[in-house]
């Protein structure tokens, strides 16, 4: 939409593009490149932009000598389960909001939506003693349950918007054939709703996977820790700072969400933007 035929316009445009692009992408490049530099090249006062030497040492160390594989496994268990719980709850709630009319539907929906705005830190203050009472402290199951806070409201809203688009004729026709509502939902509506459900699943997964606050607080023992606090507590502490290891472990921690996101990107972007842009 801009007219870049004059050299002035072209210069300003290119300069801005390069500056912002550099700010966005160079840190990612730096993360990757720092993870493959040997220590003696990492700790230089004048760092090398392209490494003279490459090494996979940091990756090996992270994979075989630290807690990372365990923390990754814990994150995988917790995030997959909480995503499954969230997606299941949201599927039924979203369908209920979209296709049924009952007293209190709108206020309840509004209230669930507003939950996304509650600061998670505030809820944690009382979730902590509650979990202590219920024996859910320092348990992966407890953490999984607490992650409902993060994604359920948005997941429900996403599926609500989707199910609202499903034509009623489809459902009413099946009803005329004598199928029960639950059966109609399971055999007719769910099969055509796989993409949004997968998106909601991935969305919940990302929230749990990327969390630091809840896992840091609700998990105490190292063998149950998830990857966020695992990274934080193992790589950079008062006694040592292993930057090469931190970068390599970071890449491995980011990999699952980056891969999942890239695979489902199209759905994701549409979902993300549709809420703000009407």
């Amino acid at each position: 939409m801009l007219d870049l035929s004059t050299w002035q316009a072209k210069t300003v445009f290119t300069a801005l593009a390069v500056l912002i692009g550099f700010f966005l992408f160079f840190p990612v490049y730096w993360l990757v490149i720092s993870s493959v530099k040997p220590d003696h090249e990492l700790y230089l006062l004048s760092p090398t932009i392209w490494p003279n030497e490459f090494t996979l040492k940091h990756f090996k160390t992270a994979l075989f000598e630290g807690g990372l594989p365990l923390h990754l496994t814990n994150s995988l268990i917790v995030s997959l389960s909480s995503a499954a719980i969230n997606a299941t709850l949201a599927v039924y709630a979203g369908y209920s909001f979209a296709k049924y009319r009952y007293f209190g539907r709108k206020p309840v929906m509004l209230f669930m939506l507003s939950a996304q705005m509650f600061p998670f830190g505030l809820l944690l203050i009382t979730i902590y003693p509650m979990f202590t009472d219920w024996g859910l402290l320092d348990s992966r199951f407890g953490l999984m349950v607490s992650y409902i806070v993060f994604a359920l409201p948005v997941a429900t809203y996403m599926l609500y918007s989707y199910f609202s688009q499903v034509p009623n004729e489809l459902i009413e026709a099946a009803r005329a054939d004598g199928a029960s509502d639950l059966r109609i939902f399971h055999t007719i509506v769910l099969p055509i709703s796989v993409p949004p459900i997968v998106t909601v699943f991935l969305y919940s997964f990302m929230w749990s996977w990327n969390d630091l606050l809840y896992s840091l607080t609700l998990i105490v023992s190292d063998d149950k820790r998830t990857v966020g606090p695992g990274l934080l507590l193992n790589y950079l502490n008062e006694s040592n700072a292993d930057w090469g290891g931190a970068m390599a472990a970071s890449l491995m921690a980011a990999a699952p969400v980056v891969i999942g996101f890239m695979a489902l990107q199209r759905f994701f972007i549409q979902g993300v933007t549709a809420g703000a842009v009407k």
């Binding site: 939409m1 007219d3 840190p27 993360l31 720092s34 760092p47 039924y92 709630a93 369908y95 209920s96 296709k99 049924y100 009319r101 009952y102 929906m109 509004l110 939506l113 507003s114 705005m117 600061p119 830190g121 505030l122 809820l123 203050i125 009382t126 509650m130 607490s146 409902i148 359920l152 409201p153 948005v154 996403m158 918007s161 989707y162 688009q165 034509p167 009623n168 004729e169 509502d181 055509i192 990327n210 969390d211 630091l212 607080t217 990857v227 966020g228 990274l231 950079l236 970071s250 921690a253 980056v258 990107q265 199209r266 972007i269 549409q270 979902g271 993300v272 809420g275 703000a276 842009v277």
Partner: protein
């Protein structure tokens, strides 16, 4: 993390899904007519129970606890009325964290909106490889928060950091700066980190807004002799106004809630220079174990989020029937 707060709507492209179904184009898409309301309520119950347990109950309890003294030395909560709130007003440190939060939210919101908008306008121009740049641009947004913090911590590192090296080379500074050990440096670091991870999302919002821009309107303006600046000011920005408003509100809510990257980068320090409200509440609750005061500060923190949240929810429910 990330994306502290965002709402997603129908994640499915209209093109790819329902229009493929063999139904009449006049199909009704609202609620079902029949009286199956009770079945609808049953479907809602599991989510409602989960929601009540992990969101509603903790929230109400936190509200209640803000009226109690509840610390390590008083393990049974004692009713103190509004005394906690009174303490907040006279505690310079807590008032300070409101100021710190305002600075953080103001700076992070302003810069992420401006840069996100600029980046969207740049990526709205056709050029080779644009699709790839657009998808790569989203990387900062999906990174786990600790990874983001590590990455920037390494860049800001006082001895081996890229920033000091670059700034020295360019002659911007005379000697290495310990960014994370100075108040201003640490604040700059957490703001830059947040701006970096917010640009992708806002860019996506603005790109979606730009997609609905009427090209003919711009062409007409061009014919009338409008330059780039005039097109931006008189056409693009006014067209984006609604999107811009929602994005600013979302940015504010997200920045008010931000915890992970700040905690991982600075832990709220040096001293209290980056202790925003999220950090303040966390420290009071889980370091000093002063639950009552933590809840009180938390309730006031919610109060700061309410105005933008109200605005946003109103927008969101407008379309809902």
């Amino acid at each position: 993390m990330r994306p502290a707060v965002l709402f997603l709507e129908s994640p499915v492209s209209k093109a790819a899904t329902l229009t493929d179904l063999p139904v009449s184009p006049h199909a009704r898409r609202g609620g079902l007519k029949a009286r199956q309301g009770r079945f609808g309520v049953m479907l809602l119950i599991p989510a409602l129970v989960a929601f009540g347990v992990v969101v509603l109950r903790p929230f109400i309890e936190a509200l209640t606890l803000s009226f109690y003294k509840y610390t390590l030395s008083t393990p049974e909560p004692v009713w103190v009325g509004l005394r906690n709130f009174g303490k907040v007003l006279t505690d310079e440190r807590i008032l300070g964290s409101f100021v710190t939060t305002a600075i953080y939210v103001g700076l992070a919101t302003a810069f992420s909106i401006i840069l996100g908008l600029a980046w969207a306008i740049i990526l709205n121009q056709p050029f080779r490889g644009r699709a790839a740049v657009r998808s790569l641009s989203l990387l900062p947004w999906i990174m786990p928060s600790v990874v983001t913090a590590f990455l920037w911590g390494w860049i800001f590192n006082s001895r081996y950091g890229l920033l000091n090296y670059g700034a020295l080379e360019m002659g911007l500074i005379d000697e290495r700066v310990a960014w994370l050990s100075t108040s201003a440096g640490a604040m700059a670091a957490i703001v830059i980190t947040k701006v970096w991870l917010s640009i992708p999302l806002f860019m996506a919002f603005f790109l979606a807004g730009l997609a609905s821009m009427d090209r003919e309107q711009i062409e007409a303006a061009r014919v009338d002799g409008a330059g780039n600046w005039a097109v931006l000011r008189d056409h693009l920005i006014p067209h984006l106004r609604p999107v811009l408003l929602v994005t600013i509100v979302l940015a504010m809510i997200g920045n008010l809630q931000q915890f992970d990257t700040i905690w991982a980068l600075t832990g709220g320090g040096p001293v209290r220079a980056t202790t925003v409200l999220s950090v303040e509440v966390y420290r009071r609750a889980f370091e000093s174990w002063d639950i009552g005061m933590a809840a009180t500060v938390g309730v006031l923190w919610v109060a700061t989020i309410l105005p933008p949240a109200y605005f946003y929810l109103r927008q969101l429910m407008k379309g809902a029937e």
